[in-house]
């Protein structure tokens, strides 16, 4: 995309704050949704859409575009906010999240919302779909990359590892997975519900190259995503994050996995996010 200027780190940080505010307003307006995992993923998804991905909002079906699949589909508020801010649809449509007739379904629908590369929502499956898109890119000699974001709790799904094995078997150099390691799932920590560690060793033993980063340090995020592009994949980036990041009373609190803020909580959350503006 020639006419889009990739955002630098400073502007990406500003955009992240805008996206976080969008997410909270959307979930508040919908009276339901998943703020915790959306906020943990915000800095990474913002970097993808405003720096890394080779995409064209005017031509969402462009066949040479990079793909992004949000395998942890319940965190779609972050994706919808990035798509709207990137120009795929009007920003004011964000407040239709989860409402009757909306293109912003409770989980991403590739046929309803422009810019969604794959329907998702039931955990574990997005990475297999990404493998399919990556195989297609390989056999057609396309240059696109396929990015897929998973949750750490999602790695408890067996089908994740079927896909991981398959990606290495087919030597998919164009596939980059990102695990949002926010260490919480619905009822408690991943450690208590079903320990997934050692995660890096697991991916490595499945034939993937493993990178690690702080999922809230924009300099690291941009550098790691850039570096991953140059590697011969499949590559997985394990991003250490905080669930609910950016809102003090949501950070690290499992209940904010799937709860909407009240009017008062929304106001406090937004003032906190705007308060850290540089």
């Amino acid at each position: 995309m020639a006419d889009f200027q990739k955002l630098g780190v400073h502007d990406l940080k500003c955009m992240s704050r805008t996206i976080r505010t969008d997410i909270l307003k959307m979930v508040h307006a919908a009276c339901s949704g998943h703020p915790g995992g959306s906020l943990s993923a915000t800095d990474i998804v913002t970097a993808l859409y405003f720096n890394t991905l080779n995409i064209n909002p005017k031509d969402p079906q462009w066949e040479d575009r990079d793909r992004f699949i949000l395998s942890k589909g319940h965190c779609c508020p972050v994706l919808y906010a990035c798509l709207a801010r990137r120009g795929y649809f009007e920003v004011n449509e964000l407040l239709t999240l989860r409402k009757y007739g909306t293109k912003l379904q409770g989980h991403p629908d590739m046929n309803k919302c422009p810019g969604i590369d794959m329907t998702s929502g039931s955990l574990g499956n997005g990475i297999g779909c990404a493998v399919g898109i990556a195989i297609a890119g390989k056999v057609r000699n396309k240059n696109y990359k396929v990015y897929v974001m998973l949750g750490d709790g999602e790695c408890q799904e067996g089908v994740v590892w079927e896909a991981a094995m398959c990606a290495a078997h087919h030597k998919l150099k164009n596939l980059i997975a990102i695990v949002d390691v926010n260490k919480l799932q619905i009822i408690d920590t991943t450690e208590k519900v079903m320990n997934i560690e050692p995660l890096a060793d697991k991916w490595r033993s499945f034939g993937w190259k493993v990178l690690e980063m702080d999922g809230h340090d924009m300099v690291q995020i941009v550098a790691t995503l850039d570096y991953a592009k140059t590697m011969e994949g499949p590559v997985v980036i394990l991003a250490q994050t905080v669930k609910g990041k950016g809102v003090s009373f949501m950070e690290g609190v499992a209940k904010w996995h799937g709860a909407a803020p009240s009017n008062d909580e929304l106001a406090r959350a937004i003032s906190e996010i705007e308060g850290v503006a540089e």
């Binding site: 629908d109 590739m110 779909c129 399919g132 067996g158």
Partner: protein
Amino acid sequence: MEVATRFVFGNELLEIAKTNDSFVVCNADTKACGIEAMSELFPNRSYSIGIAEQNLINVASGLAATGFKVFACTFAVFATMRCCEQVRTYICYPKLNVTVVGTHTGLQVGEDGATHAAVEDVAIMGALPNMTIIQPADAVAARSIAHASIGFTGPLYIRLHRNPSPVIYDDSYQFELGKATKILNYGDDVALISTGIMLQKVLDAAGILNAKGIRVRVIDMSTLKPIDEEAVLEAAKATNAIITIEDHSIIGGLGSSVSQLLAEKYPCKVKCIGIPDVFGESGPCEILYTKYNMDTTGIVVAAEKLVAQKNINNRNE
């Protein structure tokens, strides 16, 4: 001559692949239908996914999202049940162009027993919105369906059979989506609606019934969803007595579809022949068909009984 529909279908796809590069194939380490040979002929268009059916469907979904027509092939018992949710959410919901080819359906797997006998696959696939379901009655139909499936766009389930079965149609047969084939029309006593490889037994039964003076019609319902309503209603209006015959559970298959249709639009006598609410078991399939009155004798007896009931009702009216 007897041929298995799965091999005819797979071999025909291989033939088509030589001149048509619009489709790709995903396999799950089963020698399901012979299409596995495509990985040697066209390694760039055939992908081994291993014993991982959920991923088989997800990969097929991703390939289809880039514009490929995809065939995902394995035993029906796995293709429709092990990865049922993936077929639902990643093929049917986004309406992707994936044909799920399920082989070894019904009681034909015989000796393999209950774990491998897909007797509920149509019920499961049929409940999924956007899904179309096709089943050939013989090798000729399987070949025609191979061609039709290439031109079909959207989620499709093709139900194929393990064992060789009699060839019924001649080469003039052309599969038409959503259209039943009216094979015989001896009269208006009873209509036998068959799907899949049960057709030969139904035709044998029709001959016996005809000799006994019971005039039957025979219809081959090769598209199970959407069902050919017109053909069913026409037969029901002419005969007031319908028998469905399928190598599948009587719950959720052809019998259920026909019954639902007739209950709403033309109530009449109906008998559903198929597997009752039980799992399969090891044994030669012909013995199992006899056990559940799905053999020629069972069909004849059911038809005689239904016609007798109809005639008693007519006299009482």
